[in-house]
Symmetry: D2
């Protein structure tokens, strides 16, 4: 059940990089909700390739809604959207059928799924599968907005650099070198009232983490002060409570990242995500030919993003939005 996420707002993603289509089925949407298609398209465009950071491959990801909508509004049935793949099968990947790319899911997929695995373009492990995630999450964001909850994110660093100009330089250099570079994303969720999230295993942290690790290349997540809090004293880390002018309980500081005991405190939810450099690089790398059972080298062909961090922004937002909207539904009962 790995391709499904959520309990009351639940979606299942399907497809592979070069399958006829990729898509998503979404259960748990309210009936009569009008999806703002334009806003959704703008959201999806943020993860589309192109621009300074990205490869120039054309990949228009317009979702086609094949079920669940009547006159643009949800009707109570599951909403299903597909994105057709124009390039459905290719021999471009034949050379690496038996040679796993270092850092990529290739090797694990070979072991787990055997010779029948779909190796074209990374198959089901392709970053393309974040498009349906963004459809589900983008719709969740629209539903969150109706409740006054907004989800945003920004790049905190690229290759360790926090200065934007230096970030650009690193990306440009990585592209020139046939290399790639990682980065850190910070995501903030504002407007969430206190009391959302279930204790223990279904808290905000648990579920956001579970969703966010569904985005390829994520290798870490921290909430509030996160790893920094491990170096703090309790008297530093604890965020004192106070009553604000409107009589609302708030905290001074937000080391807790808006989450206490897995449950929202009413302060903004803040978390950071570590994105490793995309493993597909042009540089020659040592690998193993699994068929011949011998060591070899591999040079990945084709154009690849030197830095996927900018395109990962909406994916992280989508994952967080889906997790949070699901927990809101659970707490609204």
């Amino acid at each position: 059940m790995s391709n499904s996420f959520g309990k009351l707002f639940r979606f299942s993603i399907f497809g592979q990089s070069h399958a006829p289509a990729i898509g998503v089925i979404i259960e748990g949407l309210p009936s009569g909700f009008e999806i703002d298609v334009e806003k959704l398209s703008a959201f999806l465009a943020r993860r589309a390739p192109g621009g300074r950071y990205a490869t120039s491959r054309k990949e228009p990801d317009a979702p086609e809604f094949i079920a669940g909508l009547v006159d643009g509004k949800t009707c109570g049935a599951p909403v299903t959207a597909i994105i057709k793949n124009t390039n459905t099968r290719s021999s471009d990947y034949e050379y690496m059928r038996h040679i796993p790319r270092p850092g990529h899911a290739d090797f694990a997929a070979m072991v787990k799924y055997g010779p029948s695995r779909d190796y074209s373009g990374g198959g089901q492990f392709s970053g393309r599968l974040t498009a349906p995630l963004c459809i589900a999450g983008g719709i969740a964001m629209q539903l969150l907005e109706k409740r006054g909850v907004s989800v945003g994110s920004r790049i905190l660093s690229i290759g360790g650099e926090r200065d934007e100009e230096k970030m650009f330089e690193l990306i440009d250099k990585a592209r020139a070198d046939g290399d790639s570079v990682g980065g850190v994303i910070e995501c903030t969720v504002s407007g969430l009232y206190p009391g959302v999230g279930e204790p223990m295993f279904d808290g905000l942290e648990n579920r956001i983490a579970q969703a966010v690790f569904g985005v390829p290349a994520v290798k870490g997540i921290e909430f509030g002060a996160g790893f920094e809090s491990a170096g703090m004293l309790g008297s530093e880390c604890n965020d004192p409570f106070y009553l604000d002018d409107e009589g609302k309980v708030r905290t001074r500081g937000n080391n807790h990242g808006g989450i206490l005991g897995g449950i929202s405190s009413g302060m903004p939810i803040v978390f950071r995500v570590a994105i490793k450099p995309t493993p597909s690089i042009a540089k020659e790398q040592p690998s193993v030919n699994m068929e011949r059972k011998e060591n070899c080298t591999l040079q990945v062909r084709g154009r690849h993003d030197p830095c996927i961090v900018p395109r990962a922004l909406p994916c992280i937002e989508a994952a967080a939005a889906a997790a949070i909207y699901d927990l809101i539904l659970e707490s609204e009962r």
Copy 2:
């Protein structure tokens, strides 16, 4: 369903700090498995209080198996263990009934559960609830061992210090100051064969993270190089494949932390967890009296661990073991 975790190896934790009992029901154990009670007790003893780091409150957490075992062996029915609480109700906590401890789940619990919440000793958010987690996880560890998989952990740093002597100093100082201090735990899982874990939302990272955030005070998790990988180039971060002497595929380096695409690579699984300083400190802290709706200060009474990191070690191992054993069952089909 917040107190339950797992799909095929599934457990549900119950209890509050001062309820008559805390405990766990475990489904999915094989029939005829003899739980090594001595080993389990030794494992549970690691999270028990006492010793240099911990408070001196007495808290013997011997589990009593009330169902699922016949002559010490599993019989196919769910295994249920309880730990009786000797101090089931107390007025010790009355003074903070309406005053949430900064950094603690108190405030969130007040909002979510209202005046009926169990505020004694943190109620269901108490660290005591990690005892039943350790029972479930400790049994999972025994089942993993039969498959050649071992789970271990160590303290990487306390209060930012990696030198053991300095760690001790920081803890002693925190105790003397009525303060507390956090730390980082590194957990390693050895012997796991490649191919375990489901893609997308039920990968090893997703599920380990979901489980580990169930341990109170965890604020971050990273796998392999984690946040450091965000500062790397692909050519640095990618772990090259090679054939070892036995013809097994291995990687040079383990930046991927034994997980590629959510699936085990056969290399050791390595992850680090940030533990914030325990929020219950003796130092006076600003808070809010929720009943009177006025700002106030709070001084938490009683003895509290200046550093829960050592006691958190088996909890992190238990959470990881439960998540991994569950995924092994799923991949063994």
Copy 3:
């Protein structure tokens, strides 16, 4: 995950006939709900042995709440209740360790769980396990009552007889003969508003059926006109709609049993359940000695109910109440 039921109102049953205890953990109860213990005890007493129909074994099933309640009210944590078994282990069952009782779960348990299965008193397949079901369901009934929904049931027939006097005769004769007799129970749920139940696999029929087959000896379920509707014309079976005096939509007749498309129509939910005669009878029966691998006969010792139908009434109500309350929570979002 066989011992768990429900999604938002979720309970997990544990125990075996002669384990130290049987019990249930219940998640999803609202906080601040005062369980009417007296009413619950009266409900549990209906499934307790004794009276004209039942065996005279003493079996007082008073639940002990070990977690989740503070001063008799739910606190938001899972509610856990146990019933201690006074007779925890016995040699009474040794003679049938290797000889499965015809019609009983014994044989299936032998195959599934092997020699370690708990064979005493039927182990986890014992009718005793309906006591924790009745605790969970009895609490669900109290929550349903607060919403104006009531659940009731009656014996429709015993051994094919609908006349009460003849029912008694059949039971008395079965007891005298060392035999047993089955019956049909009709359950009615009144006061449920229209719109509860999810289409396709989580409809009222799907979920009530799933829960009700959890009661041992149930071999069939039908809703509304049920199997009779299979012999009808559409023009007979369809219940016409009309507006009642209060302007509410109602149907003439209730062949649909209050459920259309899996969803409540506002009419009473009516279903019938077939209870087979209890398989444990004193009469000698052919069976197989599994150890010796030879045909043999078996005479089950001890006292056994000649008719479990009366005691099954609260169990069926409990199963239905749990399923319906869970679906109410899902539709109330």
Copy 4:
């Protein structure tokens, strides 16, 4: 999560009668499995309209696999199939937008989903949605066959008649009268080894029943002797065990329908399902205009099957196959 079924073999159905497409996403298939498309088509053809019993509307339901297959074999990713609807939107149903058909889900859908519900052709409650169920179940049947398990069904009675000639007469008469007629289906599963099924709520009976009630018009299910067993003595109902010539344990008689304690006994699984007459009939029926809030009559236009029982056969098989295959996976761990 109503449109999803299963735990390890899990599928989610989407679509409405006149949506652009209907379809299904299937998770949990083994990698490298070649779907026999011809056999699947033949299976789907059994539920397609046409023939003596059925309406003459043309409705070719050829599934198009848009994901999860590479060269006709599963690749480990979820298999997704769609069936495009040629007639995607129509004004044919406008006249009954506000007038629920007696016996149909219309009224429940109006209440549950409000004015945005999809009322064309029954929307998500249409019998058309059994086509994706048959795709998932048809694939499960192929996987069962590889394990030696076969699923078959037959019509036991139509309108109460068990004589085939009289069945035909009843259907012809119902068609001539603008009426419809129900029937009983018997389904048999052969070749299932003992030990499959989980006790209590995930037994074969529980899960088959949950799946089967997902087929529209099902109003009852009974296993083995079913309701007849309620009229039996234990000594009649219990199926005695014996060793057959090969030393296998078998039972004389199969009143238990191949299921003991929710678990397979190795005997054929036998269950019967009551199918009510299809509610869409040409005869004038009393109903309510929900908009005008007044009583009225309704005459359903268009051609409708006078008897859906023959077309329901593969649907019942599909539901059973999906439930059983899922439980086989769970027991094979």
